[in-house]
Amino acid sequence: MADCVDYLVGETDVVERLAAAAPDVPFSAATIDFLHALHQEIARDTRAREFPDVATFGFFCRRANMLVLREKQRADLSIRVGRGLVFHVAPSNVPVNFAYSLVCGLLAGNANIVRVPSRDFEQVRIIKDAILRVTAGPQYRPVGERIVLVRYERTSDATALFSSLCDARVIWGGDATVQDIRKAPMPARSHEVTFSDRFSFGVINALPFLANGAPEKIADDFYNDTYLFDQNACTAPHLLLWLGSAENVGAAKEKFWQSMHEVVCARYREIEAVVAVDKLAMFCLQAVEFAGTRRGWGADNRVWRAELGRLPRGIEEFRCGGGYFSEYHAASLAAIPAIVSRKYQTMAYYGIPKAELEAFIRSSPMLGIDRVVPIGRTLDFSLKWDGYDLIAEFSRIVEVR
């Protein structure tokens, strides 16, 4: 038995039992019923109202949404069953991500051991309490037995134990965490899904932006994409590309950053001294690396902008949390493939028709970019993530001929 593991949901002896439990089929009625009950339980918890991320998660779990997702998955006509036991190493940065990972594991038909963030987030507590209350009822006990939430420090040998038992392992957490967890061997047949360090960027079409009568709404959306988690979520844009005529781009930038500054003033906490120094230091390094860099207008250290003279490869290395953006006026979407590497994840956009984006992605196959989503939606969870279909990853195909 592993050392120093705190079982938030489930008990120590349940782990070995889970490894032996039979899997379920994806989107089983029992799982959907349970998730709907969880949705109701979270909706009843007054604490959840203070945490939009918890409320959003609860809403995601409702039956109507699950039925839509099941319908989309029907495109895959294979017979699928859960792999068995999935071991989830949740990211430490986004408090509710562990819950989405768990839902994917459950929906695919698995038993789950989920390592939650070591930091004591209130969001984790609210969701954990809701799970405990729902699974106390006898009708949800079978699903409840598929859920173990654990918290432990890096020094524990728990990762080795859970890895040795699991049929699939999912690691959220960046390159260093992935390499670290990979040191723990899994059974030969086990499958692994990893989420590494990624880089995200945005594209704004100046003319539609200028035509929009509510720039503050777009700025508010962009705030949620970026400042909400200090640009530390992998989905947060660090680079902003502008499309359109020089005149329109100039006007759009002014309007956009003026609105952003107002939103940041209203919603963001005080700028920390270290972050202010970080931004200046990153800007200096960038100026040295890329000739022609200029500081864009900023009333203070809340927003730092590095306007690029050209769009260089390797720009993803020059980023800094807490409100630091590189910017470039691109002639068209065709400027993008030259810089995109495997590191690129989310492309957030405003004012570009979806059909045009689809045509762009189809006509320019790139090593990166897994998601193209409207500004304001970068943090939305989807069963398709980082280029993976998570239900397919957490289940196996049974061929019958």
């Binding site: 940065n93 989420f195 200090d230 530390n232 979520a233 920390e272 972050v275 202010a276 200046l280 200029r294």
Partner: protein, 391 residues
């Protein structure tokens, strides 16, 4: 301590050389740093100092702009106009950490005579500071001017609270070695109080004091070494020294001792108890601006000498903070000529306590250093500061 108060008229060097170009500061082009270093370090008031620094620091900015490509790119990117005659408080400043990731020189490599490094812990990048002959000489001169105003002009027997083998690599100076060597010019004879295992050599120190009767004994060491290997070694061994003519100068920061706030409060009285040392001065400075250090006065304030200055800036917009308002410390110095380190933003928090009116009589700004800037409470990020994350 009595200070040589000088009026504007006495701005000329105090060693009776003919008045240099310093006096006609508005003309500019050839203001010599060496001449300025002849000004008694705490003798300029706000206006006098501004007249001097506006001119010299503007010249230095141009020098680095013209001779250091990296610095030029930074100044251009920040949109700073070199031809504007703005006060020195509006000159560009660069974060001190740039000296860790970039090689910044404003002189040909062939003229570099010494490379200083910061004392980073293993695995961390260290600052690399490149000195040509005249920058190195000016550092020594500045240090001499500052320290001798506290110690007197006569050299004194010197007790270094460190081990001799700290100096072993003469080509690559650690901050500690550079500090010991730099301050050694004030010693007539020198003894190292610690052996290579950092054990105190009490008998040798006693013998050294007995053999070198003097008006004054100069002790020097890094704050942490003084506390850990001198004070604590004496106190735990139940031993005492009686250096009642001692002046201890220590620096290097309180970082390693920060957990224990009591130490800072009681540092002086404890040293008096175990070693009888009546006079103890902390100093603040960094390897990026060696020479122009900030000495602590009898009233516990750090003082900016004539040839350097400190500005405390607000995190929100980098504007200068008011007196009494804590912020990020910027340091300006006229010494760095071979590398663009004349205006740097530190990662320390400090507060200006006043200007020209310290009870000790020294002119210039006086201030306190509160310690390193606090690590950011990075929302969404967890275990490790600035660990990049993923979702």
């Amino acid at each position: 301590m009595p200070q040589e108060r000088q009026t504007t008229a006495a701005l000329k060097p105090d060693n009776a050389e003919p008045a240099g170009p310093v006096n006609d500061g508005t003309q500019g082009a050839s203001t010599s740093v060496a001449d300025i270093l002849n000004i008694p370090p705490y003798s300029l008031n706000r206006e006098e100092k501004a007249r001097l620094l506006d001119l010299v620091l503007r010249q230095l900015t141009r020098r680095h702009y013209e001779n250091c490509a990296e610095y030029r790119k930074i100044v251009d990117a920040l949109g700073y106009d070199l031809d504007s005659e703005r006060p020195y408080s509006e000159l560009p400043f660069i974060p001190v950490r740039l000296f860790k990731s970039l090689d910044l020189l404003s002189a040909p490599r062939s003229e570099i005579v010494k490379t200083m490094t910061s004392s980073g812990t293993s695995g961390q990048q260290v600052s690399k500071i490149y000195l040509d002959r005249s920058t190195a000489a000016n550092q020594t001169k500045a240090l001499t001017r500052i320290v001798s105003s506290f110690l007197g002009k006569q050299r004194a027997p010197m007790i270094v609270i460190d081990a001799e083998n700290t100096l072993k690599d003469r080509n690559n100076f650690s901050a500690r070695a550079a500090g010991i060597l730099g301050f050694s010019i004030f010693g007539s004879k020198r003894i190292f109080a610690l052996d290579e295992n950092m054990n105190i050599r009490v008998d040798e120190v006693r013998a050294f004091i007995a053999q070198n009767p003097s008006e004054r004994v100069f002790l020097f060491g890094f704050t942490f070494m003084v506390w850990q290997h001198f004070y604590r070694a004496l106190a735990s061994g139940g031993q005492t020294l009686n250096i009642d003519n001692g002046v201890l100068i220590h620096g290097g920061g309180w970082k390693k001792l920060a957990q224990n706030a009591v130490i800072r409060e009681d540092f002086k009285s404890r040293l008096r108890e175990v070693a009888g040392i009546p006079q103890v001065h902390d100093y603040y400075g960094m390897v990026e601006q060696t020479g122009s250090i900030y000495m602590e006065c009898e009233h516990g304030y750090l003082h900016a000498p004539a040839f350097s200055d400190v500005i405390v800036r607000r995190p929100l917009d980098f504007r200068p903070a008011a007196i009494g308002e804590p912020g990020i410390i910027q340091l300006l110095s006229i010494l760095p000529a071979s590398y663009p380190g004349h205006s740097i933003l530190t990662e320390d928090e400090g507060v200006i306590c006043g200007e020209d009116d310290c009870r000790c009589g020294r002119l210039g700004k006086y201030f306190k250093v509160n310690g390193r800037l606090k690590n950011a409470e990075v929302r969404g990020c967890s275990d490790v500061y600035m660990q990049r994350v993923v979702g």
